[in-house]
Structures are given as structure tokens and as C-alpha cells.
Symmetry: C2
């Protein structure tokens, strides 16, 4: 077999094994020995392809990011003609995709952040660009950010096994987040609803400024 393809096969085998271990046993169980065992490679083989454990995590992160990058850009191309806010719609769809796909990129994120928090800067910087694009196109940027935050909340909470919501509810909620028609007309409705006591309630829990 060709040397280059042999290396690539081994690298992919190791990364697949890492994902499988994280998904099955949790991020805490991801060790180099476990990767070797799971992938069929020897430990030396794994270490030949990745010099350190951090390099494994980084490669895993990058591979998963590339995968969703692809999903994201093709979705964006499709939506940019039809949607008034294609970047937001794309991100919402991508998050839903990440939440649904079993071998989620998010699993790699979790694994990475515990041992090597510095790796998190890669996805964060990428996310910053996307957020800028979302704000740019939005009629109501804060609402757009909140729709994004809600999608992330659904993703992360279910990812950590702490979501109180069922699968069905998750799907329905993603659907609603994506439906632009249900997120219009929120700019300043207070004037028309003056008779409602809602505002007063909000003031009660409003935090004194200048804390932190």
C-alpha cells in the first residue's frame, strides 16, 4: 500500500476510535492506550501519527469542524437566495445537524476543552466571524443572537445529558427557531400592550447596573 494513504488510513482510524470512545465511555475515558486498542493500531503507531495527545484532539477538532464547515457553506449557498437572513438560518440548521448527528463534533469539543482549553480558541474565532455575519444581516440583531443562543442551549444541554426536553420537543423547537415568520414583529411591542403587567414583572428581576 502507498505510504501516504497508509498514514491517512491510520490517522482516520485513530480519530474514529477516539470519537467512538468519547461517545461510548465519555471524554474522561479517552486515553492513548484506549485509542490504540479501539483502532487496532499499536500505541507506537498512534504516536507516530500524532506526537501528543493534544495533537490527536486538535486533529479531531479540525476534522469535525471541516465537516460542518462543508455542511454550513452548502446550506448557505442554498439559503442565500431565499432567506432574508441566510447566515442565521444556516447556523441554526448547522447546530441542529450537529445535535442530530450521532458522532457529533460537539463531543470532540467537550473532550478537548477539559484537558486542553486552549484548543477552544479555534472554534470560538470561527464562531465570531459567523456571529458578525448574522448581526450584519439582521433587522433585529439581538433577537438573531438569541435565536442562535437558543439553538446552542438545546445542543449543549442535550450534549451534557442535562436537557429536560424530549427528542420530539428538541426537533419541534429547532423547527420553530428556523421559521422566520414566527420571529417578526418583536421590535417594540410594549406600546400596544400597555395594559399588560408584564413590564413591571421584568423590572422586578432587573439587575442593578454595574455589577460583575
Amino acid at each position: 500500500m502507498d505510504n501516504a494513504t497508509r498514514s491517512e488510513r491510520s490517522r482516520n482510524a485513530a480519530l474514529d476510535a477516539a470519537i467512538a470512545i468519547i461517545a461510548r465511555d465519555g471524554p474522561g475515558r479517552l486515553t492513548l492506550d484506549a485509542i490504540a486498542r479501539e483502532s487496532g493500531l499499536s500505541k507506537g503507531g498512534v504516536m507516530h501519527q500524532f506526537r501528543t495527545k493534544e495533537a490527536v484532539l486538535k486533529a479531531l477538532l479540525e476534522r469535525q469542524m471541516a465537516h460542518f464547515e462543508q455542511f454550513s457553506s452548502s446550506t448557505l449557498a442554498e439559503l442565500s437566495k431565499s432567506s432574508p437572513n441566510p447566515h442565521l438560518a444556516t447556523q441554526l440548521a448547522t447546530v441542529r445537524e450537529a445535535a442530530t448527528s450521532p458522532n457529533s463534533a460537539a463531543l470532540a469539543l467537550v473532550a478537548a476543552m477539559v484537558e486542553y482549553p486552549g484548543l477552544m480558541s479555534l472554534p470560538r474565532e470561527r464562531e465570531k466571524e459567523r456571529m458578525a455575519a448574522i448581526k450584519e444581516e439582521a433587522a433585529d440583531p439581538d433577537l438573531a443572537m438569541l435565536r442562535w443562543a437558543a439553538a446552542m442551549g438545546l445542543l449543549l444541554s442535550s450534549l451534557f445529558g442535562m436537557s429536560p426536553l424530549s427528542k420530539d420537543e428538541h426537533q419541534r423547537l429547532y423547527g420553530r427557531l428556523l421559521d422566520d415568520a414566527r420571529w417578526t414583529g418583536l421590535g417594540k411591542p410594549a406600546a400596544r400592550l400597555a395594559d399588560k403587567p408584564a413590564r413591571q414583572a421584568a423590572a422586578k428581576v432587573a439587575r442593578p447596573r454595574k455589577r460583575v
Copy 2:
């Protein structure tokens, strides 16, 4: 010193040390020896109070949950007279509180879940009850869940250092989530949109400028 209070002091010292270590060095650095060193106790002393490391994490989780439980119930008592959906408002305020308080409960959660994912069932079950109460009182349950999800998204993403948003934006967004007046009239906007087209146009121009 009284035996009971001596024990309690030691237990609290250990838990305080654990929080400090997690906050300063990250969850990966939380070891029993580190807890002993940080708390001033000996390792034997720590192990006398907590038989295993999991017991330490569990106690930590429970203590932090109790803390926010208290915040939550006092907030609920205050809001239940004025707010049309006091449970949702309480949860949103509590999440914001968790996000801003430096020694966050969430840090304990992260530390816990990596090594002992089973511990996550405690907060999840609690959250299920709260979610039921939120749905119960809501005119639009799905929207209520989405507001909750958005708050969780803000909390979790910033907790993992992957939030692309600034502190200011976070605070502003929490404020908007809490403002009931800005979340009304979303039930079936498709029908309304026809007779009130001015709404959408206005939103395009009027940036929300509300401060918390």
C-alpha cells in the same frame, strides 16, 4: 470544638478548595491531593469526610444546587405576585445569576460530568420539574422553552469559553429574555402580518436600545 461542627468545617473547607481549584486550574486539575493541599487538611482528613472522589463531587454539586435553589425560591416568591409566568422568569433570573457569579455551580457541573456522568441525573431531574412548571403557566409553551434554551445557551457557551459574545451583549440579552413585553404576540404571526405590515418595517429600522 464540637465534633459535628468540626466535621462541617472540614467538609466545607474541602468543597471550597475544590471550587477554587476548578476555577483557577480547570476541572482536569482537581485531584484529591490538590484538595488536601488547598484546604489545609491532610489527604487522610479529606478521605475521612468523603469516601471517594465521586462523593466529593456529589457533595459539591448538591451544595451548589442548594444555593441556587434558595435563590430560585426566593425569586419565585417575589415574582409570583407580579409576573404572568413567574417560573420562567425565575429560571431566567437564576441562570443569569449562575452565569455572573464567579464561583459558579456550573463549574462544578462540568467537573462532575467528565469523570462521573451519572451525577448529572440530579440536576436533570430537578430541571424537569421546573420545565413542567414553566410549560404549565405559559401561554406559548414552546416559546417559553426557547427563552429558557437561549439562557442556557448563553450560560453554557460562555462557561466553555466558546461564546463569541461580549459580556455586555450577554447582559443585554439576559435582560431582553426577562422582559415579557418583548415576547408577546408571536403565537401565529402569519395571520397578523397581513393586517399590520408596518410592524416588520419598523423593526428593520428601530434597533432595540433597551438597557438593563
